[in-house]
């Protein structure tokens, strides 16, 4: 999808006034936060697991080339193919090539954020292929012609009513209004697609170097039907998703479901190793893995390596009060919330997503729930630093910072300024607060400004105590 992160402010304001969105977001926020907290509380080892997971990811990243080679060898031994894509364009070309070679007409897809990242659907549809998203949430937003607004609950912004409307329009009536009936309707429509599919595309939660397997974790079973019934299975994954062994994947599994949906486990954990064997009765005839770099090796080099630990659980956005207020679409690209505010500028360019690192109070709630302890606020601040260095921040802000520094490094001047400000503000106050203040409208549009007492603390202290 085309990046629209430059419109963050207007999209955020629009979202705040969208009653349906606010209704849907309120419900989601309470559900995700409460369930995760309960899981974390019920597992005494939870904090120890987070620390271990962080350390293991760091170890993997430190030896990434080795584990990728080990993984590649094992995939080949199992009869699969590994493809390497430096960027989105290469990844699309590789997948398109495979689809064209097998003359694919229908392509089913399990949830894959990497496929969103590389704009895969558009490319396949452009070449006349039918692309069907099979995760219920992804299916809903595909019908709505919208991008996902959450990495694990892509249709979290939709109310049941809106889903009813979409299904009625797409499937014909009668209009269903119960969740059970809506789910059942999608089940029937999508079943037929799985069996017709030529190619099934899924993501990969973990790539196991030991066995050359891809692992996906789902609740619906759509990913399994997608990859079992199509003639060709293509896994799309970022290069950072490799883990050494099945036991290592287990460490992350113990954190993933609890952090993501607040469950002990998701319903299905599937380990896929190569294509159908000679004696198998089902399964794909070809098995491909497309490993996508798309900015990841660059992150490995600098201040942002920590971000590569991300296991895409979505806990950061579930706990982010900004995300909770504006929803995922405001962020304008594939990855929303705190993790998206780090990834989007790094993948799509600092200047294309100026607001994302800035629209954050640095309250730290995201980092406090991250299962791999990514210091998200620090990374966001580091991005602000880069924006400042590259003069991407507003001119007025840079001027203000310069002036502030000039004054604040001269205590006498600073205190005189405070003294004057306090006197002026006191004159403007009525009944303890100021309702309108020119030059500070962004504050007073929303709230009153308390009136100062008339003298600064330092003045009064010196008057009373001398020093």
């Amino acid at each position: 999808m085309e990046i629209r992160s430059k419109e963050f402010k207007s999209r955020a304001v629009f979202a705040i006034h969208d009653a349906s969105l606010q209704q849907a977001m309120g419900k989601a926020r309470d559900g995700f936060v409460g369930k995760r907290a309960q899981q974390a509380a019920e597992l005494p080892e939870f904090e120890a697991l987070r620390e271990e997971a962080k350390n293991l990811k760091n170890h993997i990243l430190e030896n990434l080339d080795h584990y990728l080679e080990r993984y590649e060898d094992a995939v080949k031994r199992a009869g699969g193919h590994v493809h390497w894509a430096r960027d989105a364009q290469e990844a699309r070309a590789i997948i398109l090539d495979i689809c064209k070679r097998v003359n694919a007409k229908t392509i089913t897809k399990g949830k894959s954020m990497v496929s969103e990242e590389i704009d895969l659907n558009e490319a396949l549809i452009e070449h006349g292929m039918e692309v069907v998203e099979t995760d219920l949430g992804e299916y809903i937003i595909q019908l709505a012609n919208e991008p996902p607004s959450h990495i694990i609950a892509p249709a979290v912004h939709k109310t049941k009513n809106q889903v009813s409307d979409l299904f009625e329009a797409a499937h014909g009536g009668p209009r269903k209004t119960e969740v059970a009936d809506l789910v059942n309707e999608a089940r029937q429509v999508l079943r037929e697609k799985y069996f017709r599919a030529d190619v099934g595309i899924t993501g990969g939660n973990f790539l196991i170097a030991e066995t050359g397997s891809s692992m996906i974790v789902t609740n619906e079973g759509n990913g399994d039907l997608t990859q079992t019934l199509a003639k060709v299975h293509i896994v799309t994954s970022g290069i950072e998703r490799v883990v050494p062994t099945l036991d290592d994947a287990t460490l992350f599994l113990r954190l993933l479901a609890r952090s993501a949906t607040g469950q002990e486990t998701e319903t299905y954990t599937t380990i896929s190793t190569g294509p159908r064997r000679a004696t198998d009765l089902d399964g794909p005839e070809e098995y491909h893995v497309v490993l996508v770099d798309n900015g990841r090796s660059k992150m490995l080099a600098g201040h942002f390596r920590d971000m590569l630990r991300c296991i895409r659980c979505g806990a950061c956005m579930n706990h982010c009060p900004v995300y909770g207020s504006v929803g995922g679409h405001a962020y304008g690209w594939v990855y929303p919330g705190p993790m998206g505010s780090v990834l989007t500028p790094l993948i799509k360019g600092l200047d294309n997503a100026y607001d994302l690192p800035n629209a954050c109070t640095l309250n730290g709630r995201c980092a406090s729930v991250c299962p791999v302890k990514i210091p998200l606020p620090d990374l966001l601040r580091e991005l602000r630093h880069l924006q400042h260095q590259q003069e991407l921040s507003p001119v007025m802000q840079r001027r203000a910072l310069k002036a502030w520094r000039f004054v604040a490094t001269r205590p006498k001047l600073y205190h005189a300024g405070e003294w004057i400000a306090v006197r002026v503000l006191k004159l403007l106050g009525r009944k303890g607060s100021i309702r309108r203040l020119p030059f500070a409208q962004a504050w007073t549009d929303v709230r009153d400004l308390p009136t100062p007492e008339g003298q600064t603390f330092l003045q009064r202290w010196q008057a009373q105590r001398g020093k």
């Binding site: 009060p321 109070t361 309250n363 520094r405 405070e418 400000a421 549009d445 009153d448 308390p450």
Partner: protein, 261 residues
């Protein structure tokens, strides 16, 4: 503890920008609490700002310039204490990071960080103080400021200290740990989002049934109080230090002298 050696610790009081301008009463309350607990309190006039506005805006150079000034002004003291989790987290956590590649300033930054504390956690954890004899008739709810809570682990200390205040009843609100939408310059850069967040906070405050909001950071408290005033809510807002020191008899933050008790 320094006290047990018989020597009274010399504390440099960090006068945060917002306290200095908008709520000097908090500074005097902090000084009283520290002195009652046996400290000698001094306020160096070479201090200005901790540098956080620059740091969080990505202007690391300016932040370092301010940090050097703070280090120079305060390194003479046994402790640096300020009535703000936010400013003190900057000194404790961010200063050593800012000077990571500066061998001259790094040891000084680390040394200062190690003896810098947020007021309430300092009273509770370092001094074992139990302010007594104060009375404040109110039903209060506590807003956990993010930097204090997640940066410095301040959660139980203010509540335990407040338990010693006669007449004060604490009533927890829903989502006490969720950001109020202040976020320094965030609130003026993204006013609509900030408004939505403070609105959620106000809703939880009012739902709690409390008549008073307490907290440890003036940024958050001014944001919350300003919004409460705007919607003409009678809920009063104080810094915890004011209540603990028995100096919360005047109007609350943003309130006025005629407001009813």
């Amino acid at each position: 503890m320094t006290q047990s050696t018989g020597k009274r610790p010399r504390v440099g009081l960090f006068a945060t920008c917002l306290m200095n301008m908008f709520r000097p009463n908090v500074g005097f309350a902090a000084a009283k609490l520290l002195e009652d607990a046996g400290c000698i309190v001094e306020v160096p006039d070479t201090q200005t700002c901790c540098g956080q506005p620059g740091y969080n805006s990505g202007d690391f150079d300016s932040a370092r310039a301010l940090a050097r000034q703070v280090i120079a002004a305060f390194e003479q003291y046994d402790y640096v204490v300020g009535p703000s989790g936010s400013c003190m987290a900057t000194i404790r956590h961010d200063y050593p990071v800012m000077f990571e590649d500066d061998p001259d300033w790094l040891p000084r930054a680390k040394a200062l960080a190690a003896k810098s504390f947020e007021l309430l956690s300092f009273l509770h954890d370092e001094l074992g103080a139990t302010p007594a004899g104060t009375r404040h008739l109110a039903t209060a709810t506590y807003h956990d400021s993010c930097s204090g809570l997640r940066g410095l682990g301040i959660k139980g200390q203010p509540r335990e200290l407040l338990a010693g205040v006669a007449g004060l009843k604490l009533k927890e609100m829903q989502d006490a740990e969720v950001c109020c939408g202040f976020g320094g310059t965030f609130c003026v850069k993204y006013p609509e989002i900030s408004e939505k967040m403070v609105e959620d906070k106000i809703h939880n405050i009012i739902e709690s049934g409390a008549d008073t909001v307490l907290g440890g950071d003036l940024g958050c408290l001014m944001n919350i109080a300003g919004r409460l005033r705007r919607i003409q809510s009678p809920v009063r807002v104080f810094h915890t230090a004011e209540v603990l020191a028995g100096m919360a008899n005047g109007p609350g933050i943003g309130g006025h002298s005629q407001e009813s008790r």
